[in-house]
Amino acid sequence: MSKSHNFRDIAVISVASHQTKILSQVNEVQLMADLISRSRNSAGLKQEEIGFTCSGSSDFLAGQAFSFVHTLDAVGAVPPISESHVEMDGAFALYEAWVKLQIGEVDTALVYSYGKPSAGSVIDVLATQLDPYYVSPLWPDCFSLAGLQARSLLDKGSISLERMSEVAMRSQKNAFDNPNGVRSSEDISLDDLMSEPAIADPLRKSDLSEIADGGCAVILAADNKADSLCDRPAWIKGIDHRIDSHTLGARDLTRSPSASLAAEKAGRNSDRLDIAEIHGITSAQELILEKEFALEDETKINPSGGALASDTVMASGLIRIAEVASRIISGQVDRGLAHATSGPCLQQNLVCIMEGK
């Protein structure tokens, strides 16, 4: 984004997230009540002091029309709040909140999203997002489509099965220290992973994201407000989202031009990156993204373990932003890239670059 537009400085000032294999002790409303109040408390804000609230969730996933209205019970929406919702990952809700803050009418925003795939078949839910004439009636699952993509990469020679397993291993090892890491291991070896059978040929189980229940809440604040509420805000230096065609057969599945362009527009090239939290549902997708974002050795990729370790549909992208922001807020790193994806085979992509001052 260009400086000539007088953009406001907007930062992530607090985050809270939770992921687990099956959320059995609380429902989505209770989970989000806890996460939202934790994020507000650490920012020192009450709901009535928050200018705008935006959430992301899926009705097909919840099995209930307008299910997000129910979850507003978790916010404390009385007296009536200024509120919006996207049927997308919470990262895209964060983009809407960022735009709202840029307009200048509000100085703070709450963004949250959640998913409880354990209640139904997320594989079938995701099949319903595809072309309803040519593709959806064949009910391909998201991992099979990602399998087509991985094979294209292997056939082209741009990745190898070993590289895929290295990414899977990186995820499991990094997730070991992450309380939200559902699939993690301190000492998994490459041989262990490479001896697994393919389940969405050529993808093995460890190449596929581990589906998890969970949610995430994030507080944004602008300008002086961010400085007054947070010692070290994670300033959003650039944010952009782009989309490729939904027609799988007309795309080069070995690339994600929308991811590359979103990164460029978000200012990927302006400085070094200490970390990158990238959102792929397969090891092969992480390899595509590493290339599209031109990530080098100096950048630590997915220190949380990424979506491979715990993938909560509708929240995995926002959690990537939260993972980068929390490390900046705590002073561990100075600058990082967070990425969220939606649609089949990295079709839609959002990139958010944050830095501490």
Binding site: P140, S144, R151, D155, S245, L248, A250
Partner: protein, 153 residues
């Protein structure tokens, strides 16, 4: 709730009995399937989009010139689906593939019906097989099978 009690649970089934209007282009493709023909649509650059869309997925130009393509082509990429998905047209393990038909510049998603993944390879030639009863639906195509090589080729 005591530790020993099984949690209460309830099954909920939500069904959406959609009927979708096709419009001219998709309607012609579906009509073709019913008549055992596969149609594409010509793009601005002369390439052929199969299956056809009203607008070019890259340039968004409106497309109008439909033409028939071959029922045989090559596998661009594939994966193996086992077990088959419950609502899919297939009840046996099968390959799912992007298939580029001869005369087409894009590929379409469908099944390749072979016994095992060892029968599959990128670049292999396949040909369409059809359902006996066809209604104008993507599943009028039973799937694709290995093309039998002609003796003189």
């Amino acid at each position: 709730m005591s530790e020993t009690e099984e949690p209460l649970r309830a099954e909920l089934t939500v069904e959406y009995p959609f009927t979708r209007t096709t419009g001219d282009v998709i309607g012609a493709f579906m009509t073709g399937l019913r008549e055992k023909r596969i149609f594409g649509i010509k793009r601005q650059d002369g390439g052929v989009l199969v299956p056809p869309l009203e607008y070019d997925p890259v340039s968004s130009e409106p497309l109008t010139e439909m033409l028939e393509v071959s029922q045989s082509g090559v596998v661009d990429t594939w994966t193996w689906v086992d077990p088959p998905r419950p609502q899919s047209p297939w009840n046996v393990p099968h390959a799912l593939a992007l298939i580029r038909l001869d005369g087409a510049d894009t590929s379409m998603l469908h099944a390749v019906l072979v016994d095992s993944p060892s029968d599959m390879s990128t670049g292999m030639r396949v040909t369409a097989i059809w359902e006996e009863e066809r209604v104008g639906h993507i599943a009028d195509l039973t799937g694709f099978v290995k093309e039998v090589e002609e003796s003189d080729s």
